[in-house]
Amino acid sequence: MKNARPTRGGFFQRDRTWHPPAFAPGYRSTVVRSPQRAPLSFGNTLSEITGPVFGHSMLGELDNDLILNYAKPGESAIGPRIVVYGQVLDENARPVPNVLLEFWQANAGGRYRHKKDGYLAPLDPNFGGCGRTITDEDGHYSFRTVMPGAYPWPNGINDWRPAHIHFAVFGHGFVQRLITQMYFEGDPMIAKCPIVRTIPDERAIQSLIAALDMEATIPMDARAYKFDIVLRGRRSTLFENKLEGN
């Protein structure tokens, strides 16, 4: 037996008790959109283990700057200026490099640039609301934006979303794909939110709340929030029974 670095195997089983269940009637849209039958499971094949990879060369200079990437020359988005930074790790606590992160959010008034959003708060002509970046070799990323506003939404008669930023994350395998939302430390709206409350475990909610980091603040410019993201871990195939034809 060679004493080589183990090859990379399939992903850890997803802990479905940690994630929100498909059917969570407090968030009413799930009622007719939640599968009801048992899912099918099988060990990961190359279809699950592989996934698309994106190079840093695809990124434009302002892709990770939501303050400027939709603004007219010489202007900038309105709202409290913040930097969001963090690290993408896997469940083995290993940094994940070359992860494409895409984010989107409402403007500082809580309004999305979307034809279906009819909230009273005005659009900001200098704010589009989308950005993206790719983690470096140690899994780190950062971007600059404005603090999104809270907003009311049609669910109960008086439900509000806490301030949040949506994240879509590519790992290295297609079944690591993850969409989540980042919340802000200290926001009293988090605990009241029906979408947050689809998550059954308090610790899982806490892991989506970014920490205010005064040491990473840019003095006289922008506050900083740290938001780490964890993707599914991968098995090391320490002792593999090689089957014929594999």
Binding site: S29, V31, R33, L40, L46, P52, W104, H172, V175
Partner: protein, 205 residues
């Protein structure tokens, strides 16, 4: 007495993509132009891509039978020779003119997702048996708390489908039909049902 502990982390909990997922993932489609040159994943092939050109048309149908109009679907597939365009593909180098990954919103009027791609070759299962040609699916939308995983198989691959190691794991073989797209010319069409009699087989893999 407490012993050593495992240094493992928990995966970040999923949250719904919400009704405005297209702002983040297909901004040009929803009128946010000038940020990215084009939406990522809208083109999978170019004029040099090898293999049989096909169009895949999907619809996503909710528990009331309504066609959804606010979802997003991503697909991932092997090239015509059955190779993935990924650094983790150990069997050889995939067609450099094929990305293997596509992302589309649905047509705002009809709810149809359209992917221009090539028919994938076959990929082995863990034990080395060949799987039938298939496309992996990932679905995100308002009301979906964690992205849904499934597959699309091809209706004109009857023999391969019959011996497919994944389809043959189904407890109720009749449900395989929920994953099999029907061919008309060069177009394969499949309705994905979130609930009900025809509920699609979703995966936990």
């Amino acid at each position: 007495m407490k012993g050593q502990t495992l240094t493992r982390l928990k995966e970040s909990a999923s949250q719904t993509a919400g009704p405005y997922v297209h702002i983040g993932l297909t901004p040009n489609f929803c009128g946010i132009t000038g940020v990215y040159p084009e939406d990522l994943g809208i083109r999978m092939v170019n004029e040099k891509t090898k293999g049989e050109r096909i169009t895949v048309k999907l619809r996503l149908i909710d528990g009331t039978g309504s066609v959804t109009k606010d979802a997003l679907i991503e697909i991932w597939q092997a090239d015509a020779d059955g190779l993935y365009n990924s650094p983790d593909e150990p069997r050889g180098k995939a067609d450099p003119n094929f990305t293997g990954w596509g992302r589309q919103p649905s047509d705002p009027e009809t709810g149809v997702f359209t992917f221009e791609t090539v028919k994938p070759g076959r990929v082995p299962f863990m034990d080395g048996r060949m799987q039938a040609p298939h496309i992996s699916l990932w679905i995100a939308a308002r009301g979906i708390n964690i992205g849904l995983q499934s597959r699309l198989y091809f209706g004109d691959e009857e023999q391969a489908n019959a011996e497919d190691p994944v389809l043959s794991r189904l407890e109720h073989p009749s449900r395989a039909a929920t994953l099999i797209a029907q061919r008309d010319g060069n177009t394969y069409s499949l309705d994905i049902h979130l609930q009900g009699e025809k509920e699609t087989v979703f995966f936990d893999v």
